[in-house]
Amino acid sequence: MSDEAPSEVSVHPAVEPGVAPVAETASPVQPAPAEASSQSPATLFALAAWIVPGLGHLLLGRWAKAGTFFACVVGLLICGCAMRGEVLVPGTDGPFGTLGFLADLGCGTLYFLARALEAAGSDLSRAAGDYGTRLIAAAGIVNVLAMLDAFQMASHRNR
């Protein structure tokens, strides 16, 4: 690969007379765009992962993981809503309701979207409605795990 070494050095073609040509080498100091983004705080990636499932991994350049998490979280949420599961609000059904609300809130902006689109409301008179509630909670938990993974990956990159 020694043939390619001179290509890294470029000489200015227009040089003033009497002035030695200035050699320009590829600067190893300038960070690549991916390295620059790695200097962002890890909490930023976790927050991005909460706002949109998979966005934290997408910003870290992990396309496959981002797509996987997005598909899983959105799939669980859509199935849960289609089964007319309950999107919990704070202060419902005591402590278990609060825990369920926190789990649902893990979906990020999709939680608020699900609440806005929940036109027909939940139907817990059938078992499917109860299953739907669990699927929505599972979507939030999976997204929280994805957030923690994005946080950990960003922390390791910043070291």
């Binding site: 899983c72 669980l76 199935c79 999976v142």
Partner: protein, 58 residues
């Protein structure tokens, strides 16, 4: 969406298995293996537990 109990459980098991495999494994082969095992364990445990509860339903 009228979903059978078993179908709802399968959807849950599949999507959660895929997410857990993505979290725990690095290579695609290991992820596929992890997904398959987790999915099978979910389904096997659910079916086994349902069989155990069967006498109570009568």
């Amino acid at each position: 969406m009228a979903t059978h109990h078993f179908a709802a459980m399968m959807i849950f098991a599949l999507l959660v298995a895929v997410a857990l495999a993505a979290l725990g494994e690095r290579t695609p082969v290991n992820r596929a293996r992890h997904t398959a095992w987790t999915f099978l364990i979910f389904v096997a445990f659910a079916v086994g537990f349902a069989w155990l509860l069967l006498p109570l339903s009568r």
